[in-house]
Symmetry: C2
Subunit: 399 residues, 2 copies
């Protein structure tokens, strides 16, 4: 039986392919520090399950295709708290940020159209773009430059007559790079000149450290008609398993078109929406607390990382990832070594090889991404294990 070209062109998650090997290491009694996935150990605020437990409807009925108004209003008030004005008519509730992205690409991409994405980038963008018949064109960034990309020349060099959109994940996954408001304005300017949509993936919005102000493309109203904001409860509220995302735009032609797709899949989980509404009504102190926790984890991980001779990494400004160049010939080979040959007191570590985050063949072979989603002391120990592993790996290679 034949399958479609689209699905054949898609990739399996490069992050997950080492999972069975890690599982074997654990079966063999090794402890594995998981720095490889963005699943925080931070507890989901209790109000999520509390709101669901108090839900009393006898029939778990279809929700509105665009989202329940209770949730929409909570989101609207959340944005108001930051001086941004988005009402019910500007948003569609989606099955996580992932569906918001799928719907976005489906709505703006024709077969063969191109989408600019700074690489390294969150690998599932491949799947979303391919599903819609589009093609990812990478704006290559470098560890040595802190993976910055808000540079007119560099962006314009990638634009062709098939370019339809530029995607900005800020704060970024996998790099942790944060766009400033001025950089957002520059990107808005370029997008306007070349008639591009701006896909603003802001699921890590609050996680900007070191006195960086929180930024959002929602704060650049002069380009509002081309901005599509992607949002989600997953990271902000440590509620990855609550599949609640948002597609937000002041462009009502877009919202209206996306509504057709939304009606096709009927609605988003009713109980998750009930819980998510409570999350968006959390006081601002919640964000401060969580931000301080992640910032501490970042500092711990970065400090340990800097103890590795030859590592290249600028301290990332946001999200909960850092990508670094390691002094090894091949990071995937090194990870295999960590999981199958190495241990220190019965412990080893897992990260995400960065090659899968690049669209340009050959790039990222000596880079890794770690997620600082574990407690400080676990982050320290995890990165220490990477350091000890590198010593053992290079010793073995040179022997």
């Amino acid at each position: 039986m034949k399958l479609s070209n689209k699905v054949n062109a898609m990739q399996f998650s490069p992050i997950r392919k080492f999972n069975p090997i890690a599982a074997k290491a654990k079966e063999a009694g090794k402890k594995v520090y998981h720095l490889n996935i963005g699943q925080p150990d931070v507890e989901t605020p209790e109000c999520f399950m509390e709101a669901i437990r108090n839900y009393q409807n006898k029939v778990i009925a279809y929700a509105e295709s665009g989202g329940n108004t209770e949730l929409q209003d909570a989101v609207s008030d959340y944005f108001k708290g930051y001086g941004m004005d988005f009402g019910r008519e500007d948003m569609i509730v989606t099955n996580g940020g992932s569906e918001a992205l799928t719907m976005t690409f489906l709505s703006i991409i024709n077969e063969g159209d191109e989408v600019l994405i700074p690489e390294p980038f969150y690998t599932n963008y491949h799947t979303f773009a391919t599903s819609a018949g589009g093609k990812v064109v990478p704006i290559t960034t470098k560890a040595e430059e802190g993976y910055h990309y808000a540079n007119r020349e560099q962006i314009e060099a990638c634009i062709t007559d098939r370019t339809r959109a530029i995607c900005c994940i800020s704060p970024g996954n996998p790099t942790g790079t944060v766009l400033t408001l001025d950089e957002m304005k520059l990107i808005g300017e370029i997008a306007k000149e070349h008639d591009l949509w701006i896909i603003a993936d802001e699921v890590y919005r609050e996680f900007a450290y070191d006195d960086r102000p929180m930024t959002s493309f929602g704060m650049v109203p002069e380009y509002a008609d081309r901005v599509i904001i992607i949002d989600s409860v997953s990271k902000r509220f440590s509620a990855c398993g609550a599949r609640i995302g948002l597609l937000i735009s002041k462009n009502h032609d877009l919202i209206s078109s996306v509504m057709k797709i939304a009606q096709g899949r009927l609605c988003v989980s009713t109980v998750d929406q009930v819980g998510a509404a409570a999350l968006f009504r959390l006081p601002k102190e919640y964000y401060d607390e969580v931000k301080a926790e992640y910032c501490g984890r970042r500092d711990a991980a970065y400090e340990e990382l800097m103890k590795i001779p030859g590592v290249v990494c600028q301290k990332p400004g946001g999200a909960f990832y850092m990508t670094a160049k390691l002094p090894v010939d091949n990071v995937e080979d090194f990870l295999m070594f960590l999981l199958t040959e190495f241990d220190d007191n019965g412990e080893t570590v897992m990260f995400a090889p960065a090659e899968g985050f690049y669209a340009t063949p050959g790039l990222g072979k000596d880079e890794m991404r770690i997620a600082y989603v574990l407690k400080k002391e676990d982050m320290r120990r995890g990165v220490e294990l990477i350091r000890l592993g590198i010593e053992a790996y290079n010793k073995k290679k040179n022997s």
Copy 2:
């Protein structure tokens, strides 16, 4: 800002477009009997919310992309209860049956490929097929023939060298038509001869009345490698707002490909999966009870319908819909009349005009679909209002 051709080709739900007009009628004080949507008033079994209330994890974490094993095992046991053998490796848990269909089309359809669907059909198939770049080719069926389509000549006449699949919703929406096991075998035979996938949408599986045995393409193992079963908790357990569906197949190339798409969207709601696992473990008596309830509603609605002179409708064998030809010139116009001009003791009724369920232009203009999702006495009154409405409408037309 330009939108994609795909999204421009999609339609708004033809079922929902009368909603604002109905809302106005209600604001004006009219009572409206909603026979137009498949949202049952049957209570969701308590075990759904009970299982969720008892869920104690402190972190609402990502679920497995293919679905949590507790749910998969519950589904597997559910099928075992009917003598069908589907294990974890044969299924992917999806965001409702809708996502299972989207993933199916994305996996098997190339730009311009054709998919056979008996018309009238569930209108969202348009959106799912269009999203994947495919085209719906209708197999036209008729009210006078009870909307049956399992006919070799009729099906083969629609097959071209671009045909990739045949979709069978059985028991059917919007017609209520149920395929017998022999008819499934015939369709399997045709599919094999022309190398087609069979998309078996069986979300109403248990709802087959009048001693019709429950049938499933899972009971035709000789064609298993081309059968894709779509399933869902929405209708079976009256849990439409729990977005849990399934894509089930013995073709592991397909399952593996779908897994790439599933990984891209990460996972399905964790708490909905917890609740759904409890639903699939309900004893068989649950289905008997619900089936008896719907069967009684069907009988009540059908009896009332037969009191309308000139109506054409064969008693449907399953699901909870019936489609009928009405003695009016234009059903949409008639519905508008019901909502804006007509009432009987302050009450009126709403159904779904069937034109939206047809792909062939011009068909269905004198047909309606009703869903018998309300209590028996409400169904009787609802259909009575249609009868009284027709009298008033035709009187007005002829005056």
